[in-house]
């Protein structure tokens, strides 16, 4: 009678197969956990961090929409209501009036309304705004930075791969939770 052949619990092939399965499952679980964490269980939308934005003009030219979904918005609470608003007027205007040659906005999207001497209120006509950030640059350079860019979600298609975010030179485009879809400024030059 031959001596009994020792029975190994698994063959090498079985061991490798099981190992590969375990690794694949672990990886899949990790991927799922990562996705769940990033999504936070909530849908996300694109938005611009106004602190990072460098006003490069790409928002006006890279959106897949005919007219960009990025618009200038105005934090009235931090606006100086200046008579000579550098977001509204050219750096060296001939006169402080609404004549086109004195105005900075290429599409006349900023409306200027007299409040009292010497204060004026400025508001954005989003139907005309193309998100070029020219006014944002003027306001941030000299003023309180109350004008800034935001993705308007009534227009944005929320593409998986946003064309503007790819062109953004400073990664100012972010995915943020859809239930808090704006990054608004609440103090001068601060987000």
């Amino acid at each position: 009678m031959n001596p009994p052949i020792p029975q190994f619990p698994r063959s090498r092939r079985q061991f490798l197969r099981d190992g590969a399965r375990a690794a694949a499952l672990t990886g899949l679980g990790g991927l799922f956990a990562l996705t769940a964490e990033r999504a936070g269980g909530r849908p996300r939308v694109w938005q611009i961090d106004p602190q990072k934005c460098v006003r490069c003009g790409n928002c006006a030219t890279h959106c897949v929409l005919e007219q960009s979904a990025v618009k200038c918005v105005h934090a009235h609470a931090i606006c100086g209501y200046c008579q000579l608003c550098t977001g509204y007027f050219e750096p060296e205007p001939n006169e402080l009036n609404t004549a086109a040659e004195n105005c900075l906005c290429p599409t006349a999207a900023i409306k200027r309304t007299y409040v009292e001497d010497p204060y004026y209120e400025y508001s954005i006509d989003e139907g005309l705004c193309i998100g070029c950030a020219k006014c944002v640059e003027g306001c941030n350079r000299f003023g309180n930075g109350s004008l800034f860019l935001q993705v308007r979600h009534d227009r944005c298609l929320n593409c998986n791969e946003c064309a503007i975010s790819k062109a953004c030179p400073v990664d100012a485009f972010q995915r943020i939770p859809a239930d808090h879809p704006y990054l608004l400024k609440t103090m001068a030059h601060g987000a």
Partner: protein, 346 residues
């Protein structure tokens, strides 16, 4: 014997390594070209904000040269003031720091809250403007008094000391407060008053400054109106000068100048933000010369360079004049001080 098409292990590894190398090179090239594309896209902005010639200063107009420059070493440095012996006082986040004109620290007076402005009397008394009140120290740094806050929304941003009292510029309420030596408010200067023909101070951001001239009159910047107002210590408006323009002779942007000083000969020294410039005007407001243009403050001149500053400090400059007419400039973005002296006349 039939030739085998199979690769040896060595061939397989060699070809594999070669293939991986080519993939890595292609990937690197693609990444670099993408980066260049991004940079090019940023450079070629069809909507660029163009300041034109205003961003550069005609060298012929610069009548001062740098005698010394140093880092103030003061966190969140806001304002400068000279005291007796031409000791430079710097208002900062945690202290009033006293320096010599080579940047060596002579003394430090610790504070419980950030100082937004400072002034020194001829007797060496030091007045520190905190956000909503004034604190008084003797020359050795001993605290003598902490004056009561004059009210709500107070945002002190400038101080001056003279025979007629201590004058504190309150940007929050758009007024200059005149204090007696005991800390009591005795007058409010610069508020809109039709009877006294005072149009009022327009202060869109927290930059209101006050300086006393050798004639005993107060100089107050009025940034929203792009001018300097000159008042008597009782609050009568004597003169107002200045005009809005990005050109060198005027005040640029929405709200400038942001700081004012008076030279020993009665001429005015102004500082601007946005286009950081330090300039000299005559006693009646005619443009005289440039002390330092935007080229001297490259970091300060960048839009957004001040975005990490807190509580409404938006960058800009301050300046002070010593007894010999030397001008010290403070770059609020970098914290650097430059000592400027008049160029020798040819």
């Amino acid at each position: 014997m039939k030739p085998s098409n199979r690769l040896t292990r060595r061939q397989f590894l060699r070809r594999g390594a070669l293939g991986s190398g080519w993939v890595a090179v292609a990937g690197a090239a693609l990444t670099a070209s993408r980066g260049r594309g991004r940079a090019a896209a940023a450079d070629a902005n069809p909507f660029a904000y163009d300041l034109g010639n205003a961003a550069h200063t005609d060298p012929k107009l610069i009548h001062y040269e740098t005698a010394a420059a140093f880092a103030s070493g003061v966190g969140d440095a806001r304002r400068l003031a000279f005291g007796p012996g031409d000791r430079l006082h710097v208002a900062g986040k945690t202290a009033i720091t006293i320096l010599d004109l080579r940047g060596a620290k002579l003394q430090e007076i610790p504070l419980a809250a950030p100082a937004r402005c400072v002034a020194v009397g001829p007797d060496g008394m030091i007045y520190a403007g905190l956000r909503d009140h004034v604190e008084v120290f003797d020359a050795s740094g001993r605290k003598l008094a902490s004056w009561e806050s004059p009210g709500k929304k107070v945002w002190l941003s400038g101080l001056a000391v003279g025979e007629k009292g201590i004058f504190a510029a309150d940007a929050g309420n758009r007024v200059v407060l005149r204090y007696d030596p005991a800390g009591k408010v005795t007058a409010r200067i610069g508020e809109r008053n039709k009877q006294r023909n005072v149009p009022g101070l327009i202060v869109p951001s927290p930059y209101l400054d006050v300086a006393l001239g050798p004639d005993g009159l107060l100089r107050v910047n009025n940034p929203g109106r792009h001018c300097i107002d000159i008042y008597t210590p009782d609050g009568d408006l004597e003169l107002s000068w200045g005009k809005p323009t990005a050109a060198i002779e005027g005040f640029c942007g929405c709200c400038n100048p942001i700081a004012i000083e008076v030279l020993p000969d009665g001429r005015h020294l102004t500082c601007e933000k946005g286009l950081p410039r330090v300039k000299v005007y005559s006693a009646t407001g005619q443009f005289d010369c440039v002390v330092a243009g935007p080229e001297s403050f490259p970091e300060n001149a960048k839009t957004g360079s001040i975005s990490d500053k807190s509580d409404g400090v938006l960058g800009g400059l301050d300046a002070a004049v010593d007894s010999q007419g030397r001008i010290c400039t403070l770059d609020l973005v970098t914290g650097r001080v430059a000592v400027m002296k008049a160029k020798a006349k040819v």
